[in-house]
Assembly symmetry: C2
Homo-oligomer: 326 residues x 2
């Protein structure tokens, strides 16, 4: 089956939709779905909080009978397994009789991988796989990382001065960045299932790791502390080593917010997939560095690990995003 520029555009829109569920769909992936016929969008879906309804279910409900003969764009292979929680998407799609199904990437779960598209193909529905696959893997990286590496996708956030400090010498860090950067950082919290700080940061700042944005308070992620914290609030989780993030229940996306030793321990363990750097146009000089010792012995070993994927101005500050290169 041929796919063209129109398919790439519609898949890009489905990928945008997939981001609406980010941080709230675990253990399910945050999928996006778009149903299109003759250039008219008949349905738009994204995985709902808690993982149900699925994106396809939501989009099919909108399209109704008009889905017959339409093109269905879905960012991940429709599910093939039975669940007590809702319909099996591959079956629901077959019932809707679309003319094509366009899939960005296969399911990472080996138990169901290819079963969804095989089932569609067996039903005579043409299926295309792989369009915008790289972007799709990035858009649903949390789920894919958990399935493929057995742990959440880890974003390390740092709010830095130009000279790489997160606080002045006495520990004061309010504020390095301005209003817009801080609002963006809160939005980023809403895009993660859990948020982690070190025990030192938890003791010093006793941070309320919630989303302080109007209308998004209910999207606050699960707080987690690394290390020993005797005054741990009741709803917090606690882990004693970085690798234990693998055991956090229902976490696809994990945001690590500091401090310097926690950042270093995740970096040293190779457990950071993305750097989110908020950078203020200030020089602190002799302040507290953002990253403690990571055991680097040769400068050459630091190179080639990070790739700049985005940057933007947030007021006076800059946001830079680096993804692990490998």
């Amino acid at each position: 089956m041929l796919t063209g520029a129109g398919d790439a555009r519609y898949m890009a829109a489905a990928l945008e939709l997939s981001q609406r569920g980010r941080g709230r769909t675990a253990a399910n992936p945050n999928v996006g779905c778009l149903i299109v016929k003759h250039g008219v969008i008949l349905g738009r879906g994204w995985t709902q909080p808690g993982g149900r309804p699925h994106a396809e279910e939501m989009a099919l409900a909108q399209a109704g009978a008009s889905a017959k003969g339409a093109d269905i764009y879905v960012t991940m292979e429709p599910c093939a397994h039975q669940s007590t929680r809702g319909p099996t998407c591959s079956l629901a799609i077959i019932e809707a009789r679309p003319s094509r199904v366009i899939v960005a990437t296969l399911d990472a779960d080996e138990r169901t991988r290819r079963r969804g598209i095989d089932r569609l193909g067996d039903a005579g529905i043409p299926v295309s796989v792989g369009i915008r696959e790289r972007e799709a893997r990035r858009a649903m990286a949390g789920f894919l990382c958990r399935l493929e590496k057995g742990r959440p996708f880890v974003t390390l956030k740092l709010a830095l001065s130009l000279d790489g400090c997160i606080a002045i010498a006495d520990g004061s860090s309010q504020w390095i960045t301005g209003d817009r950067a801080r609002a963006h950082a809160h939005l980023e919290r809403a895009r993660n299932d859990a948020i982690l700080v070190g025990a030192g940061t938890a003791r010093a700042d006793r941070p309320g790791l919630d989303v302080r944005l109007d209308g998004l308070a209910d999207r606050s992620p699960q707080p987690v502390v690394l290390g020993s914290d005797k005054e741990l609030p009741a709803h917090w989780l606690q882990i004693d080593r970085t690798e234990a993030i693998a055991e956090l229940p229902d976490v696809n996306w994990l945001l690590v917010e500091g401090g310097a030793r926690t950042a270093a321990s995740f970096l040293q363990a190779g457990l950071v997939d993305r750097l989110l750097l908020y950078r203020a146009p200030i020089i602190i000089g002799g302040g507290l560095p953002g990253v403690a010792d990571i055991g680097l012995e040769k400068l050459g070993a630091a190179h080639g690990q990070w790739r700049r994927v985005d940057q933007r101005a947030l007021g006076q500050d800059m946001l830079e995003i680096y993804d692990r290169a490998a």
Copy 2:
């Protein structure tokens, strides 16, 4: 006299020409000059190494008799004083009988300020002053800073990891940045009259502070060390405190290259006008910070001092330029 968009464009070109002399014209300003008639560029000039010929002199020599009736764009008011080293530009312009003279900014030297344009006006030549003045002040900031503040314009260069380190813990700094960033840093050396490092850096690295770019070796700036250095090479200069940069002979533009304590002492003294940050996509963690203690007691005091004026990718690295906001 009215000036229009064409004038702004021609002045922008004259400002580009002014940059060709940067770092080699002190104690003269690095001026640019463009002579235009009926849309044809008849002469292009910039202050030559050592300060003579002046930009106007060079451009007038190219234009010859055709300068009569032309527009002369010059980034700084033509000189009015007599010199044994060459002609007085305001008189040379009057002789050439242009139809207009367009000036970006006045001379900062109070002894000659306004005399150049007054002389042109007295001779019946219309003069416009102030077009692209802000850019002109930036393009010739070295000379203007020396005249107005009694010291060179100081650029602080730092080559940093994402977490603000200039070396790993053992001091190794070769290399933080890649080939293209390092080549750019050498080009920046050629754009400064002098280059300064601290005594510690001089001892540790014994840096050859020359321009290591093919064809530009003769543009190496005057090396200066801050502090005591018993093995000072013969052609180096030495100062014992940051304020002594005011006494450096014939330096409009000064590049400060480190290390961390030297950077801090210039920052703390309020003697840095521009930050040139080369940033590599690496994390060092627990390395040597780029800026030592600057005596900052309140985080709020760090804000509002720097304004981002440029940024670009240099291979994998980023160059960011911040100018002092005030």
